[in-house]
């Protein structure tokens, strides 16, 4: 059996760990709230945008923009991977990276080149170890506070490379925030932009766009202006969801860790009590034995 001193030290150590994990949990909780607010604030914009774009795409028809055209031969695939900068958030990053690996495995072939853009340190560290060239890395974005400009700069770069033929397809891997306990890694095709569906399915107001819009400048020009922004919006949404997911994942991971610490402390306390009692009993035996001996 461990000595009293040892058990005491161990208890003190676990208590300190519990303090840290519970502090991290609280930090994650408050950040989560911020991230969720940002996500909610963005939703009206994204919804309206999809609505307007849907009605416009219907009008402009096929071949309106190079961003819509699928390449006949796909030789260069670019993957944008969103992960968190910091760990201690359970399997969050691992599952994102696995998703990216699965995507790459599916796409890779003899004459297909894969390249990567990474948001977040975890994904970057993975990318450095992989055999694929990393074109860009953005740190300090996911999980921190960021605004739309990061998405538009990043998106602009992707679009430029796509238009110049450096990439034939661009995919985004991010974590969809389903609930506090559930974040699902998903793959989304960014470029070429998949055919736009008329966004009526989720529009709550039941007013379909039957009337023809007057467009100024022409519908084609407008679509040309709106499509790139749509890519930024997807990217921004991915960033927001991944950030929110990171905080939620960390929160539950830290919650579990705190609980595990508490359990451990209870167990250790029991060991400690037993050891202490054993020591007291032994002492008593000594005293009683001594007294008996004196009595003679």
């Amino acid at each position: 059996m461990a000595t009293l001193k040892e058990v005491q030290l161990k208890i003190a150590g676990v208590k300190k760990t519990r303090q840290i994990t519970s502090a991290m949990k609280m930090v994650a909780t408050s950040r989560l709230r911020g991230a969720q607010l940002a996500m909610e604030a963005f939703r009206p914009y994204a919804d309206k945008y999809a609505e307007v774009l849907g009605s416009l795409a219907q009008k402009a028809g096929e071949g309106a923009s190079p961003l819509l055209e699928a390449r006949e031969e796909v030789k260069k695939v670019h993957v944008v991977l969103l992960t968190s900068d910091r760990g201690l958030c359970g399997g969050f990053n691992v599952s994102l990276i696995e998703k990216a690996e699965a995507l790459i495995k599916e796409k890779v072939g003899d004459d297909v080149e894969i390249s990567l853009t990474n948001f977040g340190k975890r994904g970057r560290d993975w990318a450095r170890k992989s055999d694929f060239p990393m074109v860009d890395e953005y740190l300090g974005v996911v999980g921190a506070s960021f605004d739309f400009s990061i998405a538009s700069t990043g998106g602009q770069k992707l679009i430029n490379s796509f238009v110049f033929g450096e990439y034939d397809e661009v995919y985004l891997v991010y974590a969809e925030f389903l609930s506090m306990g559930k974040q699902l890694p998903v793959i989304q095709q960014l470029l070429p932009i998949p055919p736009i569906e008329v966004a009526e399915a989720e529009a709550e107001d039941d007013q379909p766009f039957q009337a023809e819009h007057i467009c100024e400048p022409s519908a084609e020009l407008l679509l040309g202006e709106m499509l790139p922004r749509n890519v930024y919006i997807q990217l921004y949404r991915g960033l927001l969801e991944t950030s929110t997911g990171e905080h939620a994942a960390r929160m539950s991971a830290m919650d579990n860790a705190t609980k595990a610490c508490s359990d451990m402390i209870t167990d250790l306390q029991r060991v400690y009590n037993k050891a202490r009692q054993a020591a007291i009993t032994a002492d008593l035996m000594d005293i009683v034995g001594g007294a008996e001996a004196l009595k003679g």
């Binding site: 007057i214 100024e216 407008l222 202006e225």
Partner: protein, 135 residues
């Protein structure tokens, strides 16, 4: 009184305006336009500039719009702006400082100046200031 239309100004960061208004004037890329109740469906891109509207009580309000898109339907107008600030939220000192900075950058005949960016900054600053001062 005339019927009102619903005006929504949204940016990626937040919903700036969402209220019934009497009339909206916005800086379209092909010229300023006004929208009243019962407008025919209309879609346009926006320049950097000021959108004005009269609220239900007839009070005139100005909102700085940093480019974007606007959609007008019979009963509502939606402005999707890159960013937007109501008159009371504009930081005039900051706008003036950035105006001075942009002017300086354009004045100097240096080659390394990104002219488009400086011009965009100049336009933003000018319109911010005029949004505040045009009451």
């Amino acid at each position: 009184m005339a019927d009102t239309i619903r005006l929504e100004i949204v940016t990626p960061g937040r919903r700036v305006v969402s209220e019934p208004v009497q009339i909206v004037m916005a800086p379209g890329s092909e010229g300023e336009f006004g929208v009243l109740d019962g407008h025919t469906p209309f879609l346009t891109s926006l320049k950097v500039g000021m959108a004005r509207f009269k609220d239900e009580a007839g009070k005139e309000c100005g909102v700085f719009i940093n480019g974007g898109f606007a959609e007008a339907l019979a009963d509502r107008v939606t402005i999707l702006a890159e960013s937007a600030e109501r008159r009371r939220d504009i930081d005039v000192t900051r706008a003036k400082a950035s105006l001075a900075r942009a002017e300086k950058r354009l004045d100097g005949a240096r080659v390394d100046v990104d002219e488009t960016r400086a011009k965009a900054a100049l336009a933003r600053a000018i319109h911010r200031i005029s949004t505040v001062e045009s009451r």
